[in-house]
Symmetry: C2
Subunit: 324 residues, 2 copies
């Protein structure tokens, strides 16, 4: 298939082209930069919704319910399920994916699991780029589901337009959620399995904790009670997602969010390209080898050696002034 | 306190100097590079032992038992407990630390929790540097305990001379352990809580899986059965750790391991210093701002923009040939 044909088929949301384009981007295979450059102008139509939360919070069931709800409204939906990076706790997602095949028979739905790590700029970057491909393919909603067990999964969730933190009444999440800046990450909270004992009290406690933490200056995020397994609260949830989106748009926060994300991606890409130079430059590699001997022998510390090597990098200002 | 006095007190293992030095290094505070440069020649005496594994495997109890065993042999012991990076599952460690205060009353023991992230080169780097300080302070054994829920914790464990993977008979770990290259990371396996039903069978299954995975060319790592809560199997474990150390030394693998670790640290430091240049250079920042406008407007992709900016970096070969 030619390059132009691939792009054409991708924009027409043909599944084979979509799968191929995603695979190229996810694995950083030949042409992935060219592909991302080509679709860059198409981006920004899809609404990206991230779901994260501790294992067992029912995120997959909730995702499935959201897919059905958006389909019922006539939207096409893509789901990107990011497998946990943990080598120890990886069992649940596969089963969840199989269960989700009920909605996967619908050709307005596309489901993709991401397991790749170590691609250019890490999991958050490659997830964002896979979402870009889905955006270019014309999906109206992109749901990004992560098991929030590590920083990288949190970064993934944060790359969405609306980030939803899914909690459950039990398991002490009410207290744990106070840690590590999680409240600040979430645009919207879901108390799932809220039909369990203590569900309403948990939601009230959560609201108090959020209000206390954010103070009065910030918008209070919605706390939505759901019971995904019986389909309860899903309409309230899609409504709350829509309201958050309106909030972003009326306050011109959407542009800011996009711009921040692009700035951070640009920074990452510059860093990655500098790493490539380090890896591929014979002179620098030679300097590194020499320095290593001295470092191993204890004659020089790695800090001093690194500072020495970096001195070889000079910044050459472009003549003729800046052009795009 | 003067700089020389701090170094002197650190080498004499005075607790106040130790705490201060660790804090300087952990948080990358003023003088941390100078400190690491000063102690670089002292390193390599301590044996570094990493323990990782899924939550609930009993790593803290095992660590505590190892501390007691090494103390009984007359060794000084430092414990570095790396808090999980997860914002959701962070509750257990604090309780464990409090429990460990029984051994902490002994002044041949030093316990430190690491929670800092985002320091120069990430958690694995800062943990390694804290261990360097403990090494310079003359601790004979350094135990690095992580909850292995993410890649960064695995990297931390891997930075030890001997990496121990702690598993428990239940919870399907026998299958999960096959994932993501975990077997290759471990130098030694512990089946803890092995007095539970199915403990021996689990250990046998684990041995088969390891043998199948590693093939005949590689050394078969020991699988040690323990029941840390009743102190069982700890002597076998310290013996297995000692045997792994001997294996490293007789096969000259210790030098290789150290050299690999220093090479990777050198690479990281060069990358970090290049990032600093990007962040601090006015011309590059100006180029980034200009490029961002074009990227946000969809006129240029972040990939093309990054490639453009990186072109400003030139490598200037040093005249007069290499010197250390």
């Amino acid at each position: 298939m030619s390059w132009d044909a691939l792009l054409g088929d991708l924009r027409a949301r043909k599944m084979a082209a979509l799968a191929r384009a995603i695979s190229v981007v996810e694995n950083g295979r030949a042409g992935f930069e060219k592909l991302l450059i080509a679709i860059h102008g198409d981006l920004g139509r899809a609404r990206r919704i991230g779901l994260t939360g501790p294992p067992g919070a029912g995120k997959s069931t909730l995702t499935e319910e959201l897919v059905s709800a958006y389909r019922a409204h006539g939207f096409t939906v893509a789901v990107v399920a990011v497998d946990p990076t943990s080598p120890f706790t990886g069992g649940a997602l596969l089963g969840d994916r199989i269960r989700m095949e009920s909605v996967a028979l619908d050709d307005g739905v596309y489901i993709r699991s991401m397991a790749t790590r170590g691609s250019l700029g890490g999991l958050a970057t490659s997830t964002r780029e896979v979402c870009d491909v889905l955006d270019a393919a014309g999906f109206d909603r992109i749901l990004i589901e992560t098991v929030g067990v590590g920083q990288s999964e949190l970064d993934v969730a944060r790359s969405a337009d609306t980030t939803i933190l899914v909690l459950v009444p039990e398991s002490g999440d009410g207290i744990q959620v106070l840690k590590a800046g999680v409240i600040e990450v979430a645009d919207l909270f879901v108390v799932n399995k809220s039909d369990r004992p203590g569900g309403r009290e948990f939601a009230e406690d959560l609201r108090s904790i959020i209000a206390l933490r954010l103070g009065e200056s910030q918008r209070m995020p919605a706390v939505v009670l759901t019971a995904a397994s019986i389909g309860e609260g899903i309409d309230r949830l899609t409504q709350a997602i829509g309201e958050h989106r309106s909030h972003l748009e009326t306050n011109r926060l959407m542009e800011r969010k996009r711009s921040d994300a692009l700035r951070s991606r640009l920074d990452t890409l510059v860093e990655e390209k500098l790493k490539d130079i380090v890896r591929e430059n014979g002179y620098i590699q030679g300097r590194l080898e020499q320095a290593l001997d001295d470092v191993v022998a204890g004659r020089i510390s790695p800090y001093r050696a690194a500072a020495e090597i970096v001195r070889a990098f000079k910044i050459k200002k472009r003549e003729g002034g800046p052009t795009a």
